[in-house]
Symmetry: D2
Subunit: 147 residues, 4 copies
């Protein structure tokens, strides 16, 4: 049972469609593992293309996963005809982004008519061990979709 | 004349080498425009590969440019034998990342033995107009380089 | 000459009145040094009442000064009939809040119909020396004033 | 059973003593409800002295409670002879700070030799109803205590 009551009966369809329209997610190989009202989890394989100077995944790429997870989680609770926009986010890097696969879990902590606040966590999976590597708190805005 | 006195006489060489070792920067087409003690500017062309659902560059990719700019700016002031690590950052998105080219300018506002604080700004260039699109405040840590 | 064009011709009067209605500012002894469209500077004397375990002013009290400075700076650019609300802020503590007097300078970096982003800096004054002790980036929201 | 293993066998004593040395906490009437390794909860009564222009408690005062809660939670896991210092924090204000009493709950999410990351939440209690009003993510640093 979802903790939040979505306003848009088609929330799963429109949230999934918004995710699918993000070319950056395809480029990064990020897919959606599951989605519910106010919650989403994404998954990304490791690729050397996204590494920084020590061979770990770049903090900006981890942030891309966290930000999209927050955006889609917030979007599930927005009314029909909305678009979602990131206002700001804050990320703490807790451990090196080192692993075969990464997941990004986001949840709404305060939905609102205009602004929605989400929290997200990034995990690295390496040899069957899951490590919390980063956190995000983000503010998302509902915009009326144009056209 | 630099505002800060670098501790490492080879700071330009090691900072440039650290930037060059970031595979993510090559993948994103990000290059270094200039570098000084405590300051750096990077440049990135637009590519559809990095866009979100509205065709603008994804906030995570803008964050990748801002974070690397902060990291390299901080690194220029760190002692010889250091490695640089991002502790945390906060980004405000001020306008859509819409343009032909993007620049990321970072400057140290407080260097320290362990922690260095930087501020950075991202600009979009479209049809000769420069627009401030994002800001970052970031905390970077000096680590003793292994091996 | 102000960088921003205020929408409310009475912006100085209403911004000053909003500051004056903050009982917390009176309790902390914070006064307004100057105000312009999109900019404000506040001043606070040291008091042992606000100290933490090492005798420096508590980070929350420094944050109170920074947040009010951001709020009033943002408010000067909001239309008539607005109220201002803090959405979020991020503070970096750069040096101990140690001094006889503290100032808080805020400026709008992006005004908006709904959201305004400000940056602020806190300085300590001790024996004629001014030290940057903290920075804030904050997001403020314009609300229609009730009643 | 605590989730974290404290390094200092006297952690409850020294953490409580550090809290007690904060004059700002006494001035604000903030008391400690409970403390464990890596976790703490503080409580503050409403007082008109701390209000902003709408009669709600000022965001800086709420931040003072959240920051001290994070600092004490982090401090319980630091080795003997440490002092704790706030590096930075980020606060989202989710609802007006309106109530008879406020609580601040903090927990360590990543302890470290030098840096510890905490999350905290502020709640308002009004007429028996508890409302989440603010969140904080903060970075704390262990310093060797002087003298």
């Amino acid at each position: 049972m979802p903790r939040f009551e979505p306003k848009n009966p088609d929330y799963l369809k429109v949230a999934t469609a918004t995710f699918d329209r993000q070319q950056a997610m395809r480029t990064l190989g990020i897919s959606m593992l599951w989605i519910e009202a106010g919650e989403v989890e994404l998954s990304m394989p490791f690729a050397a293309d996204w590494t920084q100077q020590n061979g770990f995944v770049h903090a900006g790429i981890i942030t891309a996963g966290l930000d999209t997870a927050c955006g889609i989680a917030a979007f599930t609770l927005m009314p029909s005809g909305s678009d979602v926009l990131t206002v700001e986010f804050k990320t703490n890097l807790l451990a090196p982004a080192k692993g075969d696969r990464f997941t990004f879990r986001a949840g709404v902590i305060k939905p609102g008519r205009t602004l929605t606040v989400c929290e997200a966590r990034a995990f690295a999976l390496a040899d069957g061990v899951v490590t919390l590597i980063a956190t995000m708190t983000g503010t998302l805005m509902a915009m009326t979709r144009r056209g």
